[in-house]
């Protein structure tokens, strides 16, 4: 298995398999980076409606081809048909949201299911057609790259490359609109038009990927890579290319795994590889990852509780919160019976002085934003200059002895 995997990953598993791998990799990169813009615009699931809305187009294109006396299985023609009905689906979502009181989620769900239902109806019509033969259109549901003809594989690879080139060419306006629509407008970029371009690119990826990944799962390639990339960076440019890498790696590894063993369907395995990358990012990313965030959250809670407990000690009030009591006890600031230790008293006095200084700083500091930026739990020395503190202390008067 490993050997065949390596063989597949190094493009030695056959010409067709190599082309499929190139196609899925390109598609993954293009999908990941395009998906980032849609993800950041919070429109991820519109692409799901668009993807499901491709099905009737595929059916109608097939029927039209047969009616014209041709072979229904011409991939570019089917893709063109799917693009038309996907675009209609997108317009219907927008029309419902604008013209009626229904919210976007209802519009998405309705378009997704009704278009899909219509597609299924057309598929049964095709099955019953006098041409009668197995049209293989079911492959568009879940993708079936194994059955692809050579020219189909070339078509997918080229189309993926074109979409990727377009994403690179248009990345600046799309990044601006995705991260800061107000600013984008102010520099003369039409948000509405850019949104349409984003959706058009997403649609292009959907229709190109239909045969490879299938219309139900293609949306995963638009959503999961950016969701994974978002854990690694707050910078727009970085998220775009990280998402591209995640998508590309998923496509490449997925195609390799699929080629290396029987009964591993390409679309699902690409999505699952992608999900693994997502899960790892969510867990381990250094700043936004869950483990890091939980540790930070814990630290923050401890800081809040410690400060809260110390202030209560300074005011000689009883502490009720069990978690605060446990923390202070653990750090040796109070004894088991709740009475402050020497260290506890000293820290309490310091906390109290800090709190007083912050109070003065807040009331008098000219630039209140500078004060607001801080959570007011840190020692003031870490934030204000020595001169500023001296000024505050002058207003406070001599330190009180009560706290010691």
């Amino acid at each position: 298995m490993l050997e065949t995997l390596i063989e597949a990953l190094t493009f030695r598993a056959g010409y067709n398999a190599a082309l499929v791998a190139v196609g899925t990799t390109l598609l993954g990169i293009a999908a990941g980076s395009t998906g980032t813009f849609i993800f950041l615009r919070r429109r991820a699931l519109i692409s799901d409606a668009v993807a499901h809305a491709t099905l009737p187009g595929v059916g109608l294109a097939f029927i039209a081809l047969v009616a014209l006396g041709g072979d229904g299985r011409n991939l570019p023609a089917l893709v063109a048909g799917s693009a038309v009905s996907a675009w209609v689906g997108l317009l219907v979502v927008q029309w419902i949201t604008r013209q009626t009181r229904l919210a976007e989620d209802a519009a998405i769900g309705a378009v997704l299911s009704v278009f899909f239902g219509l597609g299924i109806v057309l598929l049964t019509v095709i099955q019953n057609m006098s041409s009668g033969r197995q049209a293989g259109l079911e492959d568009f549901l879940l993708g079936a790259p194994a059955g692809m003809l050579l020219q189909d594989a070339i078509f997918v690879a080229v189309a993926g490359l074109v979409v990727l080139a377009l994403v690179i060419a248009l990345r600046r306006p799309m990044t601006l609109v995705a991260f800061d629509p107000a600013f984008a407008t102010s520099v003369g970029i039409s948000v509405h038009r850019t949104d349409l371009v984003m959706m058009a690119l997403a649609m292009a990826i959907t229709v190109v990927g239909l045969k490879l990944v299938g219309l139900i799962l293609i949306v995963a390639l638009l959503i999961i890579p950016p969701a994974a990339a978002r854990f690694w960076s707050d910078k727009a440019r970085n998220v775009v290319w990280i998402a591209g890498v995640v998508g590309g790696v998923s496509g490449f590894l997925g195609a390799g795994l699929s080629a290396s063993a029987p009964a591993i369907p390409t679309g699902p395995i690409i999505v699952l590889v992608c999900f693994c990358l997502f899960a790892m990012s969510m867990a381990f990313a250094p700043r936004r990852g869950v483990i890091a965030a939980l540790a930070r959250q814990r630290q923050f809670r401890q800081r809040v509780r410690r400060r809260q407990g110390l202030l209560a000690l300074a005011r000689e009030e009883e502490i009720l919160d069990p978690a605060t009591l446990a923390l202070l006890r653990r750090e040796g600031l109070i004894r088991t019976d709740g009475v402050a230790t020497d260290a506890g008293r000293a820290q309490a006095a310091r906390a109290r002085r800090d709190e007083r200084r912050w109070e003065v700083a807040r009331a008098t500091h000219q630039d209140e934003a500078a004060v607001d930026r801080h959570d007011l739990l840190r020692p003031i020395e870490e934030v204000l200059t020595r001169d500023e503190i001296a000024e505050i202390d002058a207003r406070l008067g001599p330190p009180e002895e009560a706290a010691t």
């Binding site: 419902i96 769900g109 109806v121 950016p226």
Partner: protein, 307 residues
């Protein structure tokens, strides 16, 4: 078509279709008002992996393990979505997209890996159902409706969906007030002592059960049409929740009946020979009804939107 033929071939699918549509439309009303319509989307996609796991664990295509598997998958999906949304701080639409596509992919992979050849469990069936196959061989005439022996031969799906639909209707009726209150104003509902998180979770579980029970008949994706289209159309007909729910039931039944009839007889009227997918046609008629409501519904515009 004679009466006997109608009863044998069409009665059971019709009733199953209508009951499925109603069972889904009832919770759908509240999902739409809570802006959670796409939870229906997510749930219906994860039914497939749930059924496959249920099948693999039990080793047979028997109903209950697969139903339990599907309901379990729906709950797992909801928990995962919430985890990704809250812990990963990812917007809910994208969180749903991540979870349900991955679970669906897992289901397909599992299905391909396991040896299900010779067993009636294929992806297409799971996706768009098999309403037409639910025939009642013993229903040889109207008299069969009173004949216990013949009734025992009804497709097992029928009593199941009847039970689920009745249970959902009853739950909706009994918990009407808390549902309405917590859907309208969750914070306030909590201050009068309602367990709002539990209510929200139960609503999703009920929707999942409806989806699983309807799944046999119409497949996992068309279930979404039943969750969303009848309630969405109903929302445009009235400004009273009570009436909205009644409208949604009417629309659900109407789309099921007209969809089934059009699929079964429409092609014949047009000179064709073969019926087309009933489940797909039900989604289409539900969509047509919704489109008409969008164009002509008396309350189609929001108060601030009227022109």
């Amino acid at each position: 078509m004679s009466g006997a033929e109608f009863i044998q071939i069409s009665l059971a699918p019709l009733v199953i279709g209508v009951l499925s549509a109603i069972a889904c439309a009832l919770p759908g009303n509240f999902l739409i008002l809570r802006r959670q319509a796409l939870i229906g989307d997510a749930i219906s996609h994860v039914v497939l992996p749930g059924i496959v796991v249920g099948f693999l664990v039990s080793g047979a295509v028997s109903t209950w393990p697969m139903m339990i598997g599907a309901a379990g998958a729906a709950i797992v999906a909801v928990v995962l979505i919430e985890t990704v949304r809250r812990v990963g701080r990812i917007e809910s639409g994208a969180a749903m997209g991540v979870v349900f596509t991955s679970m669906f992919a897992f289901g397909v992979l599992l299905l391909e890996q396991s040896d299900t050849s010779g067993v009636h469990l294929d992806v297409e069936h799971a996706l768009y159902g098999n309403l037409e196959s639910l025939i009642w061989l013993d229903g040889t005439g109207w008299a069969a409706l009173l004949d216990p022996a013949a009734l025992a031969g009804l497709p097992a799906e029928l009593p199941r969906i009847a039970f689920v639909a009745a249970a959902i209707a009853l739950l909706t009726l009994v918990f009407w007030r808390p549902l309405k209150l917590s859907t309208f104003d969750e914070g306030y509902a909590r201050t009068v002592g309602l367990p709002t998180s539990l209510i929200g979770f139960t609503l999703v579980v009920v929707a999942a059960i409806a989806a699983v029970a309807a799944f046999d008949a119409v497949g996992s994706i068309i279930v979404i049409a039943m969750f969303i289209c009848p309630p969405a159309a109903a929302r445009l007909m009235t400004d009273r929740l009570e009436r909205q729910v009644l409208w949604s039931v009417v629309f659900a039944a109407l789309s099921a009946v007209s969809g089934y009839v059009l699929a079964g007889y429409g092609p014949l009227w047009l000179g064709g020979e073969h019926a087309i997918s009933a489940a797909g046609m039900i989604a289409v008629t539900a969509g047509v009804i919704m489109a008409l409501a969008c164009l002509f519904g008396p309350h189609r515009k929001a108060s601030g939107q009227r022109s």
